[in-house]
Each structure stands twice: as C-alpha cells, then as structure tokens.
C-alpha cells in the first residue's frame, strides 16, 4: 500500500464480500422455489427473495466499485485521498441504509413498505431492479455524490491518468443514469423505455468503463507493461463499448410498444457489442505474454485473466445468441434471458471486483505483494468452483430456455406456461445443484482470507 488513505477500501471490500454471501444464499432459495413451488411460502414469497438476491448483487458490486476507486485513485493520482473521513462516513451510511432496505423487504409486505416510505409522494418502486423505496434511492444518490466529490477532488489535486479519467467517467455516468429511476410515468411504454436508460446504459455502457479501468489497473500492476500501451488499449476498448452499446439499447425496444425501426437499429448495433468484450480478451492475454515481471499473486492473475474470458462468453456469446430481433421474438423473457443475465453479470462485474480485491487485499492487510501459498491455492480452488458452476448454471438454464421456447412458443400446439415449467423441472434441479456448488466455492473463497496467515507471505 503506497498511500495511507487507500486503507478505507478495505472496509468496502469486506462489506462487498459479506453481501455477496447473502446474495448467493437467496439465490439458492430462489432455485429451490423454482422446483418446490411453495418452499418458504407465504413467509418469503419468490418475488421477495428475488428482490433480495438482485438488490444485494447491485449493492455489493457498488461497494466493490467504490472500494476499487478508493484503492486505485490515490495510487494513480499519486496523492492521498481528498477526505478519508468522508469515505468512512459514507461507507456506514450506505451500509446501514442498504441493510434497513433489505430488512424492510423481508419484514413487511412490499405494499406496506411502499406505504410507510411514502411511495405515493414520488412513486418509483415496484419495477425490476429498482424496487428500493424512494427514500433509499435518494440516499443512494446522496452517497454517490459524496463519493464522486471525494474521488474527483483527489484526481483534481493529483496526477491525471487515463485510467482515473475513465474510471471517473464511468462512475459519474453510473450516478447520472441512475437518476432516470426517478422518472416513472403513468404510461407503461415510456416507463419501460426509460427504465432501460438505467439498466442497459449501466451494464452495456458506463459500467464497461469501470470494468475496463479496473482491469487495466490490475494488468499494469501485475505485468509491468508500459502504461502507454495499456491505456491505448483501454481507450479503444471503451470506444467500441459506447459506439456499439448506446444504440444497442434498441435490442430492448423490439416488443414494448416502440416503433419497429428499433428492430434494425437494435439488432445491428447490439450484434457488434461482443467486439469490445473480445478485444478485452486479446488485450489481457497480450499484456500477460508481454509481462516484464512475475508477480507473486497468482490468484489475482487468475481472476484478471478469467474476467475478460467469462465476460466475453456471458455478455458477448450468450448476449449475441438472443439479440437479433427474429430470434428475440421467441426467446424474449425466457430462461435464455436468465442464463445470459447470470453469466454476463458474473463474468464481467463479479469477477472484476474479485480481481481487484484479490490484488489489493494482501497489500491492505500488510502482507507484502501476495498471500501465502496455502491461502492462494484455496482462493484458486474457489475461482474454479465458482466459475465452473456458473458455466453449468448457464448451460442448464439455456437447456431449460430452449425447451421452454419450443414448447410454449414455437411448436404446433403451444402449451401454457405452468405446464411447460413442470416439464423442464429436471433442468431446474440441476441448476440448483450447480448453485449449491457455487455456494461451496464462495465459502472456500471466504476461508482463503483466514488461512495461511501465519505462514510466510510471499514478497
């Protein structure tokens, strides 16, 4: 650790991992409810468990991004953080607000939560991923502004590298597009259109800048390749992300009441969206091949290489699979979507956060450049367990999705949704098994922080 104030990122990383565990526990509950329909009913209905699962995912990724920024920006700007105290205060505010929201989901019916938080004054609740009470959303904006102020001031007073500029741009974009979550018109079509300005322009827009910046940072540190080369790649990759991804939003506008020209705009531009992900793969392997040092943190290297590969598979390949309008006509809103959503989120954003945590944590804990061999071996086991089980979750859901699409939408005698779901239950059972293995991988991951500490760390 080169700057004292980087230490605040440790809090953020610990919270991220804690919430990650919660997310996966609820994932496994959801998976079971898929096959044992009344499991935990009516105490925890499916929609409640799902909200907890997806909102925890978003929140822990945000903790991860903020931790990454607090770790990276001082080093990039070559100066202490503008205000470590503000960073710590915002951490607690965000954690407590987040925890209260989750408790709210679980403790009272959603309609009651809407009433007691005054949703009628400014109705924003009840839309996928944006289920948080309006006051929580306002809290998120306040925390984000404080965070952005802190990070921007740090960059302003120090060295301005391409990596910190791109990271900042991504984080500002994240906050700005979130503001569209406050726009909830009575007209469902308009509501849906601007909903995608949050969701799509996040994951296939500004978040890719954050992804690129974190990946570039870790690769510079680990390979020692010249910054000029890495930053050149970074700009080209994110240029492709936005050139394809912004108009690519159209792949969500096919069937929600928008003009039909979006079938062309959306299909053509989103078909190009895999390009930046493919470039990330080439970039990462290239930099590793040209490395000027052997970094002792093998586990971090594994995450850093795994990220572009899995992001390309999940976002690029699985995204392309259903993005052309004539295909999407049949697959829209099926298990194919769920398959893609899982691998894309895991491969791109979960893995990049775990990569920066893996790189930063040994330094933050004063263990020189890397953990002991024992701890790294366990972490690498957890990498393989989680990644391979995520591949299987995706494959099983894809199998379920193909059958669902055929039986319910393509075959001569289309069958009702509930009938089809029962026919494909075997795939859901297999997904559940893979999910439990994912959970085991996560437990090993957490354990890797606690073992091998007494052994000599690797310098």
């Amino acid at each position: 650790m080169q700057y004292q104030s980087q230490a605040v990122s440790k809090l953020y990383f610990m919270a991220a991992i804690g919430l990650f565990i919660g997310q996966i526990l609820f994932g496994v509950i959801l998976g079971l409810q898929y096959v044992i329909g009344d499991f935990l009913f009516p105490e925890i209905p499916f929609n409640v468990a799902r909200m907890v699962h997806t909102n925890l995912l978003i929140v822990w990724l945000l903790f991860g991004f903020m931790g990454a920024a607090y770790f990276m920006v001082p080093e990039e700007a070559e100066t202490e953080l503008f205000s470590p105290k503000l960073a710590i205060a915002l951490f607690w505010i965000f954690l407590i607000a987040g925890a209260l929201t989750i408790v709210g989901y679980l403790a009272v019916p959603y309609a009651t939560l809407a009433n007691i938080t005054g949703n009628d004054l400014l109705p924003t609740m009840g839309r996928e991923f944006l289920e948080q009470p309006t006051i929580t959303k306002i809290g998120i904006v306040i925390v984000a502004l404080g965070f952005l102020f802190n990070i921007s001031m740090t960059v302003l007073k120090g060295r301005k590298t391409a990596i910190s500029m791109v990271l900042l741009l991504g984080l500002w974009g994240l906050a700005i597009f979130f503001l569209f979550s406050f726009y909830n018109p009575e007209n469902l079509v308009l509501d849906k259109m601007y909903w995608w300005w949050v969701v799509h322009l996040w994951v296939e827009g500004v978040w890719e800048l954050i992804l690129g910046a974190i990946l570039a940072f870790v690769l510079i540190k680990m390979t020692g390749v010249d910054r000029e080369v890495i930053e050149k790649w970074l700009y080209v990759i994110i240029a492709m992300s936005l050139i394809t991804g912004i108009i690519g939003t159209g792949h969500h506008f096919y069937w929600i009441g928008m003009p039909e020209y979006w079938q062309w705009w959306g299909s053509i531009f989103s078909a190009l969206e895999p390009i930046p992900f493919f470039m990330m793969v080439i970039f990462a392997f290239n930099m590793v091949n040209r490395r000027r040092r052997e970094h002792p943190n093998k586990a971090a290297m594994l995450w850093a290489i795994g990220t572009p590969v899995m992001a390309f598979l999940g976002a690029g390949v699985w995204g392309f699979m259903h993005t052309l309008a004539p295909v999407n006509y049949y697959t829209h809103g099926t298990q194919i979507t769920a398959a893609h959503g899982h691998m894309a989120f895991y491969g791109a954003y979960v893995m990049v956060v775990l990569a920066i945590i893996s790189y930063a944590m040994p330094l933050l804990r004063g263990r020189a450049a890397a953990n002991s061999n024992k701890s790294q071996v366990l972490e690498m086991w957890s990498f393989w367990l989680m990644t391979v089980s995520m591949v299987f979750i995706t494959l099983f859901l894809t199998g379920a999705g193909i059958l669902q699409t055929y039986l319910q939408r393509v075959s001569e005698n289309p069958q009702p949704f509930m009938v089809v779901q029962e026919k494909i239950a075997l795939f859901y059972w297999m997904r559940e098994v893979a999910g439990v293995i994912f959970l085991i991988g996560l437990i090993l991951y957490v354990m890797s922080f606690f073992i091998g500490g007494e052994e000599e760390a690797i310098a």
């Binding site: 009516p42 499916f46 929609n47 289920e131 240029a239 108009i247 096919y254 069937w255 929600i256 769920a338």
Partner: protein
C-alpha cells in the same frame, strides 16, 4: 497495436465516438417520442388505468411475472393475460381474489394480496390496457 496509432488518437476516437452515438441516440429518442402515441394508445390511460399501474407496482407483481416480456420468469406473462382469459376482466379479478393465503401445496404459489374491489378493478383494467399496446405482434401466441 501499431506504434503509429497513438494513445491520443485512441482517446479522440473514444470521446468523438461516444458523443456522436449518444447524440444519435437522443435524436432517435426524440423521433420515437413523437411516434409513440400511435402505438401506446395513451389516450386510453384513464385514472383507473393509472391507479392500476400503481397497484401493480405496490405489490411487486413484476417480481414473479413478466409484463411484455420483462420482469421475472417464475410465473406467466401478463401482457396478454386479458386475451388469454377470454377478454374478461372478471376472470382476472376472480383469479387474483381467489389465491389461497397458504398457497397451493407443492405448486408455485401466488400470494393473497387482499386487494380492495377498487384496486382489483384497476389492476385488471391496467392489464387490459397493456394488452392493447401495439407490440409488433409479440408474444407469438396466446400462451405468452
């Protein structure tokens, strides 16, 4: 990448490309906004439909169902449930009203929301309005 292609060139492509395509997106959004009233039949959004959307949101129906293909994949698509139920709001209301509090053993269950008659009618009216949006013929058939 070649030496002749410099970092500042790549930076310019990024800023230029991002700005251009964002502006194009905004322009398309304007055009869409003008074309939309034809397709979303907004003239039929009565107070009751608007209230129905609130009921929909307040009870987080989207956490189990899809609506026009977006949402959760646990329960049937509802964008066309009005047609599936034989163009009957009464059937929709009866279904929602009839959910057992303890669920249905072994089957995916929908909660009993204890909606008032006013809320029930509104949410059914909202689903009817939704089924009349011009969705380019989606879903492929009545099963959703």
């Amino acid at each position: 990448m070649s030496e002749k292609f410099t970092k500042s060139m790549s930076r310019n492509i990024f800023y230029g490309g991002a700005a251009f395509f964002f502006l194009l997106f905004v322009a398309l959004t304007f055009d869409t906004t003008r074309a939309l009233p034809e397709r979303d039949h907004r003239q039929n959004i009565t107070e009751q439909v608007a209230f129905g959307k609130k009921v929909w949101e307040k009870n987080n129906c989207i956490g189990c169902h899809t609506l026009l293909g977006e949402g959760a994949y646990f329960a049937p698509e509802l964008g066309n449930v009005y047609t599936r139920f034989g163009n009957s709001k009464e059937a929709i209301m009866a279904f929602i009203k009839g959910r057992p509090v303890e669920g249905i053993q072994g089957r995916r269950s929908m909660p009993q929301f204890n909606l008032t008659d006013e809320e029930l009618e509104a949410v059914a009216e909202f689903l009817k309005w939704s089924s009349e949006i011009n969705t380019a013929n989606w879903p492929p058939n009545v099963q959703g």
